[in-house]
């Protein structure tokens, strides 16, 4: 049984874009995995995520490392830092976001890991865990940045579970 299938992919064109959106996400998979490769066209690098039009996650906690220290804070829709326009040419950062049971009618959760690095001058790695009490299935996801640079890409995958094979006690 195929584990992972591409649902949609988006590539930012000339001039850039302040958002990348996935809409009409089918409810036929078990989990979702979103892979983002991005760069900003300015020095504003915080990337955020909303779902189902405008919702943010009720709570999120993240761990940040910058090559010299480790910090942690809370947020509702932060998913990492992208490389800024001052990074070396052709440097794009990566974010991987996992949504288990996205189509269920219970509490939603996600986990993200992201990285942006420019040799010795600037580097960030993030681990982010979020939860929303919105019980609606996730039908759309929007990624936001000051401006995604041309060439930024995002791909959404559906993941199918197996069946049976486990005992509970």
């Amino acid at each position: 049984m195929m584990f992972q299938k591409l649902i949609q992919t988006a590539t930012v064109g000339a001039g850039g874009s302040a958002s990348i959106s996935f809409t009409s996400i089918p409810a036929t998979y078990t989990d979702l995995c979103l892979v983002l490769c991005a760069r900003a066209t300015s020095s504003t690098v915080n990337m955020t995520m909303t779902f189902n039009g405008s919702n943010t996650f009720s709570t999120a906690r993240y761990l940040q490392s910058n090559g010299s220290s480790v910090t942690s804070t809370t947020d509702t829709n932060f998913i990492g830092n992208s490389p800024s326009s001052s990074y070396g040419a052709d440097i794009f950062g990566n974010v991987n976001i996992y949504f288990p049971n996205y189509a269920g009618t219970t509490t939603k959760t996600f986990f993200a890991d992201s990285v942006a690095e420019n040799s010795t001058t600037s580097k960030f790695a993030h681990l982010i865990s979020g939860q929303s009490y919105d019980t609606a299935a996730i039908a759309s996801i929007t990624l936001n940045l000051s401006n995604f640079a041309e060439g930024s890409t995002a791909s959404l995958y559906g993941i199918l579970k197996g069946s049976g094979g486990a005992t509970v006690s």
Binding site: M1, M2, F3, Q4, T30, D31, F57, T59, A60, R61, Y62, L63, Q64, S65, V70, T71, S72, T73, T74, Y98, P100, N101, G104, T106, T107, K108, T109, F110, F111, D113, L127, I128, S129, G130, Q131, L160, K161, G162, S163, G164, G165, A166, T167, V168, S169
Partner: protein
């Protein structure tokens, strides 16, 4: 691997219809190189951490982690008689915890078994990565997942095999 053929195969899955303490995957196929276990666990009781044993073993395992709880970052090492998916950072009561557990080289009888877990406890211990070593060269044929308390109905557990 031929083009168009997935390297990852869904092996087994359970979504709980009622609360339980343990979920076990047995008779795991030896046809893959690695295993991935994805857990969306809702803990009814705030208790000990979400843990894993292989082949029913209670051998002492070294665990370590790094995590951020929304206030500060931490790193610890512990020894338990199981692999901890979060090095002792339990899923809080009624919290939806996430664990993506990577079990490498699970059929290799020449090496100890290492586990790397991304863990998310969004309303309590936050986000982190945990690592653990099961000091046994046996091939893994079963994986048991313990809540440390009780997994609520709706918790889901999915096992995947990764081909070489």
């Amino acid at each position: 691997m031929p083009a168009g053929v997935s390297a990852i195969t869904a092996l087994a899955n359970v979504t709980l219809g009622s609360s339980t303490t343990t979920v076990t995957f047995s008779s795991i196929s030896s046809s893959y190189k690695d295993l991935i276990l994805v857990i969306r666990g809702i803990n009814v009781n705030y208790s000990t951490n979400l843990s894993i044993t292989f082949n029913g073993s209670t051998t002492s395992c070294v665990n370590a982690d790094i995590y951020g709880n929304g206030a500060a970052g931490y790193s610890y090492a512990n020894s338990f008689n199981y692999i901890s998916t979060d090095n002792g950072r339990p899923v809080a009561g009624n919290e939806v915890g996430f664990r993506q557990v990577n079990i490498m080289n699970y059929t290799n009888t020449d090496v100890h078994k290492f586990v790397i877990t991304k863990f998310g406890s969004p309303t309590s211990y936050g986000a982190g990565v945990a690592v653990g070593r099961w000091p046994d060269t046996s091939a893994i044929t079963s994986v048991a997942v313990y809540s440390g308390g009780t997994f609520a109905a709706g918790s889901s557990f999915a096992l995947y095999g990764v081909s070489a």
